[in-house]
């Protein structure tokens, strides 16, 4: 894996021991080289996330927010800059990702999907099933242990995706537009669920979304990215009271924050769509 020092991937994603922020990204750039030239996906990203923080990242389509998450996950090496993730337990994986399209293993039951991470780390069968059942109960999926993914609704599939990530007990939970494939009502319900689950597990979360209301409702801070190449344009602190509820979406304070983020995002979105239209 990428976090092993001196590993085979040319990456500067490292397991850090020093006491600093939970996640520190410094001068990160990602470029793709193809026959048609070089494409800069991310340019000089610097960002830190505190332990236990819920950090949302918003940006126009194609700004590289998913790429940022994949670098944090170690799925894409970072050639320029560095990513440090503080480790509080030497056995714990640095990250666990929740994917937009769920990415569950269709031939495994819900229980075996959730136990997949621990299984690959050599956790004994009885122990990993106990853990998986416990987490499934916490995400509201008791009774569905032996169902297969194709038998579940989108919202339930994503609960499985979240349970799978939590079962791996990562230092940082990464979420890549986890609610984007759901209908509006289910999305609202799942936002409440996420608030509840986050409060219960106290994980550090980096959450990518294109929905401003979602970012403001869930996040302690909202990182606004520019159109490609993706840079950090601004960081908006969200000082809404916790524990949060869906009702806060109706408040004037929420509307002010929403507008602040939207004003920052607006010109980036039109820049991105101009680029998409032009080529």
């Amino acid at each position: 894996m990428a976090e092993r020092a001196g590993g085979t991937l040319p990456t500067a994603r490292v397991r850090a021991e020093a006491t600093e922020a939970k996640v520190v990204v410094r001068g990160l750039s990602v470029r793709y080289t193809s026959s048609r030239g070089t494409l800069t996906a991310l340019e000089d990203i610097s960002l830190s996330v505190q332990a236990g923080e819920f950090c949302c990242v918003v940006g126009p389509s194609g700004c590289g927010k998913s790429t940022l998450l994949r670098v944090l996950a170690g799925l894409i090496p970072c050639a320029e800059g560095e990513v440090r993730i503080r480790s509080d337990g030497p056995q714990r994986p640095l990250t666990a990702m929740v994917f937009q399209d769920y990415a569950l293993l269709p031939w495994r039951t819900v229980l075996d999907n959730v136990a997949f991470g621990p299984e690959n780390r050599g956790v004994p069968r009885a122990e990993r099933y106990r853990l998986a059942r416990e987490i499934l109960a916490k995400v509201g999926l008791s009774g569905f242990e032996h169902a297969y993914p194709h038998q579940l609704s989108g919202g339930m599939k994503q609960r499985v995706g979240i349970a799978r990530a939590l079962a791996n007990d990562p230092e940082v939970l990464l979420m890549d537009e986890p609610l984007a494939a759901l209908d509006a009502q289910t999305r609202n319900l799942m936002q409440e669920e996420l608030l509840r689950i986050w409060a219960e597990f106290g994980k550090t979360v980096v959450y990518v979304t294109h929905a401003i209301d979602e970012a403001v409702l869930l996040g302690d801070r909202v990182v606004v990215m520019t159109a490609r190449p993706g840079r950090v344009k601004a960081v908006v602190p969200v000082d809404l009271e916790r524990p949060r509820t869906l009702e806060q979406k109706g408040s004037a304070h929420f509307a002010r924050l929403y507008n602040e983020v939207w004003q920052l995002l607006r010109e980036e979105v039109s820049a991105a769509s101009r680029e998409a239209g032009g080529g």
């Binding site: 894996m1 996950a73 170690g74 799925l75 994986p93 666990a96 990702m97 994917f99 399209d101 990415a103 569950l104 293993l105 269709p106 031939w107 495994r108 039951t109 997949f116 991470g117 690959n120 780390r121 297969y148 993914p149 194709h150 799978r164 791996n168």
Partner: protein
């Protein structure tokens, strides 16, 4: 299922099946009537009832049993010889680009050659015995199994693969916990087609060169103008194919409960 599914569902399910049976019965009656009335030559198209009578005769005197067992033994061996290396080669080609590029042209060249034509070649190497017949019958099945297995590996969702790797499935774990189970539906399709083709080629090979087997019985009946024997053999071969297809389908449903049932609606 249908018993408790209400009258409407049961009716829909029963209707096409009833039609299939009716259409077969209608055809047979027409045939019976035409042959009996001298509209078609009974020497070539004997009445279905007389074919059934001959079937009983061939079952009673043991002729059918000995030919059937010879054919079934060959099909079983050919299927085994095709399936095991077929799956192995298909998986290798799926995960290793080098193997894919090396074998692709060979597959494209050999696969369309009618497999019976390999009989002389196999006989050069193995002599004119059972091994040559079995090997010849396995060729097309092998390619079918390998090609479907390869497709099974290649069609795996990239997102699912990425997630599996992210959750620690690397090396042998990636192979045994992700690639193999993920491609099983395609492997099964390959096996089903492969079994069917093994039967086809075994019968063809028996027609060209074997003393026992349904193919040789068919050929012999034709040459000696035992037309009823010929029809009996055809029927038995047809039912063998039917049994193989439905049998493997049942096995697939048992082994792959995670696949959404494909319901054919017409």
């Amino acid at each position: 299922m249908a018993r408790q599914g209400g009258k409407a569902a049961a009716g829909r399910a029963a209707h096409p099946a009833a039609l299939s049976v009716l259409s077969v019965l209608a055809l047979l009656s027409l045939w019976e009537w035409a042959a009996g009335g001298g509209w078609v030559r009974e020497a070539f198209f004997p009445r279905p009832s007389s074919v059934v009578a001959q079937f009983v005769v061939l079952v009673r005197d043991g002729t059918l049993a000995s030919h059937l067992s010879a054919t079934l033994t060959r099909v079983a061996w050919a299927f085994l010889v095709a399936a095991l290396p077929g799956v192995a080669v298909g998986l290798t080609m799926g995960v290793w680009r080098g193997a894919r590029e090396a074998l692709d042209p060979l597959f494209a060249f050999v696969y369309p050659i009618p497999s019976v034509l390999f009989l002389p070649l196999a006989a050069f190497v193995l002599g004119r015995g059972e091994p040559a017949r079995v090997l010849t019958s396995a060729v097309t099945s092998f390619f079918l199994v390998a090609a479907n297995t390869l497709t099974g590996v290649r069609q795996l969702d990239r997102g699912v693969l990425e997630a599996a790797v992210h959750y620690g499935a690397t090396g042998h774990r990636l192979f045994f916990k992700v690639l193999l189970p993920g491609s099983l539906p395609w492997i099964f399709t390959g096996l089903r087609l492969g079994l069917g083709f093994a039967l086809i080629v075994v019968v063809a090979v028996e027609m060209v060169g074997a003393e026992q087997g349904l193919g040789s019985l068919l050929w012999l009946s034709w040459q000696t103008l035992k037309v009823r024997d010929m029809y009996v053999t055809l029927l038995v071969i047809g039912f063998l194919g039917l049994g193989a297809t439905y049998g493997l389908e049942r096995v697939r449903e048992r082994l792959l409960p995670w696949q959404p049932r494909v319901e054919v609606r017409r």
